[in-house]
């Protein structure tokens, strides 16, 4: 298969893309970094052929500048296939880069398989109700892969570090300030056990019971979107679903989750799903291994007592 160019603004995700490119059988992998020596060193350490762009006029907040730099790299390195990370920064760049180089583009890709010259990509469609398998028929392809789809490439025999020079136009986007997100830096994607709270939970007073249970199980509390954005009981870092995190825990214990597709897309890869609901007809029950119809507060209290 063709040579693959990889880029992510995050070094850890660039290392995942390196694994992805190797696994689909890329003839060669060329990793591009922009104003990030540490990432370039990490990639070299993992055996990549790195092309480091060092140009103060390129500001990562200016997507047009990043896309233009990558398009120039693609031109200079003669690659047709680009893997980006499908984090927000990567998705924003993907469309713009694809437009410049006249490529077909797929984002939020959750699995890749090479089939001859084609790369078959899986991604959610219809709001997560279905999983589509798609290929880009254009020669030029931009594929943005969801973070954590592949393991980060481990350090190994050293690759090479090369400088790459690109031009930058005056920027129309000025970075004024960066604010770190307040407080909660929980990583629910890394948790082996999730206690997930949905709108079926009647009172915020019951939330500590869920937190106690998560603690006892060595897991984390997560929630459906409305619990964080409408009710504001929990931080947005804890949202599971299409617009939140896609989690693959060993166990998901769901409390008061009705089972809308926008939610289930984020939990359907869990190994075991137990759903506790007051409504025995909740559609979540059809997608669960263990189903219990009971008062949520009582079940939480009993579980905490038993564990």
């Amino acid at each position: 298969m063709a040579t693959v160019l990889i880029y992510s603004d995050k070094a850890s995700m660039a290392l995942e893309l390196l694994t992805a490119a190797r696994e689909v059988g890329a003839a060669a992998v060329k990793a591009v970094t922009i104003n990030d020596n540490a990432a370039a060193q990490d990639l070299v350490g993992a055996g990549a052929e790195v092309f480091a762009i060092d140009n103060d006029a390129i500001n990562l907040a200016d997507t047009a500048a990043v896309a233009s730099a990558l398009a120039q790299a693609i031109e200079q390195l003669g690659t047709d296939v680009v893997f980006l990370s499908s984090n927000r920064r990567g998705k924003e760049v993907a469309g713009r880069l694809a437009q410049i180089i006249q490529a077909g583009c797929l984002t939020d890709v959750t699995a890749l398989q090479s089939n001859g010259d084609q790369i078959e990509c899986q991604r959610n469609a219809l709001g997560g109700a279905t999983v589509a398998t798609q290929t880009i028929t254009e020669a030029k392809k931009v594929i943005a892969i969801r973070p954590r789809t592949f393991e980060a490439a481990a350090a190994g025999s050293a690759g090479s570090l090369n400088d790459l020079s690109v031009e930058a136009k005056p920027s129309a986007v000025k970075l004024v300030e960066v604010r770190s997100k307040a407080g909660d830096s929980v990583d629910i994607e890394a948790a082996e056990i999730l206690v997930v709270v949905g709108q079926g939970m009647e009172s915020q007073d019951d939330l500590p019971l869920a937190q106690e249970l998560a603690k006892k199980l060595g897991g984390e509390v997560a929630c459906s979107k409305p619990v964080a954005t409408d009710k504001k009981w929990l931080s947005e870092e804890r949202i599971v679903g299409l617009s939140g995190k896609k989690c693959k825990p060993q166990l998901a214990l769901l409390f008061g989750i009705s089972g809308q597709v926008q939610f289930t897309v984020g939990i359907r890869d869990a190994r075991v799903i137990a759903s506790i609901n007051t409504d025995e007809n909740a559609s979540m029950n059809q997608m669960s291994d263990y189903i219990m119809t009971a008062d949520l507060k009582q079940v939480l209290a009993d579980l905490n007592k038993a564990l």
């Binding site: 200016d62 997507t63 047009a64 984090n87 927000r88 920064r89 998705k91 924003e92 760049v93 993907a94 469309g95 713009r96 694809a98 437009q99 490529a103 077909g104 583009c105 797929l106 984002t107 939020d108 959610n124 469609a125 219809l126 709001g127 109700a129 279905t130 999983v131 589509a132 398998t133 798609q134 290929t135 880009i136 028929t137 254009e138 920027s171 129309a172 000025k174 970075l175 004024v176 300030e177 604010r179 770190s180 997100k181 056990i193 954005t229 947005e236 060993q250 166990l251 809308q260 597709v261 075991v272 799903i273 137990a274 059809q286 997608m287 291994d289 263990y290 219990m292 119809t293 038993a306």
Partner: protein, 251 residues
Amino acid sequence: MNIVVALKQVPDLQQIRLRNRQPVLDDVPLTLGNIDKNALEAAVALKEAQGGNVIALSAGDENIEDTIKEALAAGADEAFLVADDQLQGAESSWIATVLAEAVKKIDQVDLLLFGEGSADNYSGQVGSRVAEILGWPQVAYAINIEVNGSTATVTRSLEDCDEIVEVSLPAVITVLSDINEARIPSVTQILKAGKKPKEVLELDDLDVELPDGSPVETISNLAPDSQRKKVVVKTVDELLQALAAEGVIRR
């Protein structure tokens, strides 16, 4: 200030049924994307604060003339539509070309807003592609937009931080649903929506010709094969026994 909001006509996802893992789209009503409605709300809020004109832009099949009434009821002043049956389910790059050509036909656009992704495909490409075609700067994932003369100050929400950027206008901005709560139009607004001005073009009017083959080919599109046990448990004790037997908890 002219604010254009691009909205996508999509099947109402809540009403899609699955049959043998195949999505059944027959008779599913059409609506506008949820995040698109947040983009519209952001535009209407800017207009209410600073004056201006909000134009709802959409490209879709002939149903779009009806579907767009939702946006006119929710505060758009007029609609600019490209209605052509070739556009039904058209690929992102094609839609981007059509929308960009349509924007070129609208006078003095200061801001072009999108939702961060469409409700159905959620690829998040179209805003970025349109920005590139127009040669405009862009800021995606906005949770706040303030316009000050010839620039806008926008808060871009990334996974680990918020970035406050100043972007020169005209610009493309895509919004997160967190930016606001879209208003629900009143009955009077819904009744008035049908009388608001609409300009409807076809692809020929834009000199856009769609290529023959799509740049993206869909091999299959099926609901995931969910093989869950669906065991009903009656007591907490039974639940714990089952989970212990699965090896996911220790008792």
